[in-house]
C-alpha cells in the first residue's frame, strides 16, 4: 500500500515538473490550452502532475527542516530531518525511474543527492561564518543546475536544458533565502520565504509533468 502510494505520488510529481519546464517553449495561450487539455483529458497525467508537486514541495519542506535544525544545533532533529529528506530523494528518483527506467533512476539519485550535499556545505558555511565555504557551495550549486538541466534534457527532448537549469537555480536561490533567514533567527521571514520556496517548486514540477506527458502521450492518455 505504501509502495503503491509512493509510486503514484512519484508519477504525479514527475508530471508536474515536466509541465513547468515546457511552458517557456510555447506561447502562454498555447501552454494554458495544453495544460487544460491535459488536466481535463487524462487522470493519469493529473496524477503525474500532482505526485511530482507533492514530492518537490516535500523536498523543500524537509530541506528547510534539516537546515533549521542544523543551524539551531538540534542534532537529533537534524538527523531525523536529513533521513526523511533522503527518503524523499529516493522517492523522486523512483518517480524518474517509473518513467525512464531503472538505469535512469540509478543515475538520477546520486545527481539529486549531490545538490543536497552542496546545501549542507552552504549551511555549515553559514553556521561557522566561513564566507569562502559559502561562496564555494553557492558556485557549486549554480554549476549543478547545468547538470540537472542536461540530465532532464537528455531524458526528454521537450525539456530545454537552459530552461530546466534556470528553474532549478530558482529553487536553489529561494531555499538559500530561507537558510539565510534561519541563520539570523528571523522566524517570520523564514516562514514567508519558505512559502515562496515551496511555491517555486510548482514551476519545476508542472513543466516536468507536461514534458513527460508530451513525450509519452499514450501512457498518460487514459483516465
Amino acid at each position: 500500500m505504501e509502495t503503491k502510494s509512493h509510486k503514484l505520488t512519484g508519477a504525479v510529481a514527475l508530471g508536474f515538473l515536466l509541465t513547468t519546464a515546457c511552458a517557456p517553449m510555447a506561447s502562454k495561450a498555447e501552454a494554458e490550452s495544453d495544460h487544460k487539455t491535459i488536466m481535463q483529458s487524462s487522470g493519469k497525467a493529473a496524477d503525474l502532475r500532482s505526485g511530482l508537486n507533492i514530492l518537490f514541495a516535500e523536498h523543500v519542506s524537509l530541506a528547510a527542516s534539516a537546515t533549521g535544525a542544523a543551524l539551531g544545533g538540534r542534532d537529533a532533529e537534524f538527523k531525523a530531518a536529513a533521513g526523511a529528506l533522503d527518503a524523499n530523494s529516493v522517492a523522486i528518483s523512483k518517480a524518474v525511474g517509473s518513467v525512464y527506467g531503472a538505469d535512469a533512476e540509478a543515475a538520477f539519485l546520486p545527481l539529486w543527492r549531490k545538490h543536497i550535499g552542496f546545501v549542507v556545505d552552504y549551511t555549515v558555511g553559514i553556521a561557522t561564518k566561513d564566507k569562502a565555504k559559502q561562496t564555494k557551495a553557492v558556485n557549486e550549486l549554480v554549476g549543478y543546475t547545468d547538470d540537472l538541466g542536461a540530465f532532464l534534457s537528455s531524458a526528454n527532448p521537450n525539456l530545454p536544458k537552459a530552461t530546466v537549469a534556470e528553474l532549478v537555480k530558482g529553487h536553489i536561490l529561494t531555499l538559500k533565502d530561507v537558510i539565510d533567514a534561519q541563520a539570523v533567527k528571523d522566524y517570520n521571514k523564514t516562514y514567508m520565504l519558505l512559502r515562496t520556496a515551496t511555491g517555486h517548486m510548482h514551476m519545476i514540477a508542472d513543466p516536468l509533468a507536461d514534458a513527460i506527458v508530451k513525450q509519452f502521450p499514450d501512457r498518460y492518455a487514459g483516465m
Binding site: Y100, D103, A104, A106, A107, F108, P110, L111, D146, D147, G149, A150, F151, S153, S154, A155, K161
Partner: protein
C-alpha cells in the same frame, strides 16, 4: 600443385591475420543521460573503443576508479557529439568513470 600451395599460403595468412582483423572492429560506448551505455564491453586486444557523448554537459572518460586513477587516459568530453577513442593493446580488465559525476562507471574487458 602450385595452385594448392598458393591456396594453403593464403589460408595461413588469413588465419594469422584473423585476430587482428577482429580486434580492429572495436566498440562504441554512448554517454547518455549520465550513463555509460553499455557499461561493460568486451573486446579483443588491439581494439579501439570510442566513447561518444550524447549529453549537453561536460563529462570525462577517466581510467581507473575515483579513488584510484591509473593515469591511462583522462579525456574531457565537452558536450553533445564529443568523442574520445583509446586502443587497448594488452589483455586485462580496465575500469573507467566520469570524474565530474563519479557514479558513472564502466568496465572494458580485453581478451
Amino acid at each position: 600443385m602450385r595452385f594448392g600451395n598458393t591456396i594453403g599460403s593464403a589460408a595461413v595468412l588469413l588465419l594469422a591475420l584473423a585476430p587482428q582483423l577482429g580486434a580492429e572492429s572495436g566498440a562504441t560506448i554512448n554517454i547518455q543521460t549520465f550513463q555509460f551505455q553499455p557499461k561493460q564491453v568486451e573486446v579483443k586486444a588491439g581494439a579501439t573503443v570510442t566513447w561518444i557523448s550524447q549529453d549537453d554537459v561536460r563529462h570525462t572518460v577517466t581510467s581507473g576508479a575515483p579513488d584510484n586513477k591509473d593515469g591511462r587516459f583522462d579525456a574531457s568530453l565537452s558536450g553533445k557529439g564529443a568523442k574520445f577513442s583509446f586502443t587497448f593493446s594488452q589483455p586485462g580488465t580496465y575500469t573507467f568513470f566520469c570524474d565530474r559525476h563519479q557514479h558513472m562507471r564502466g568496465e572494458i574487458t580485453v581478451k
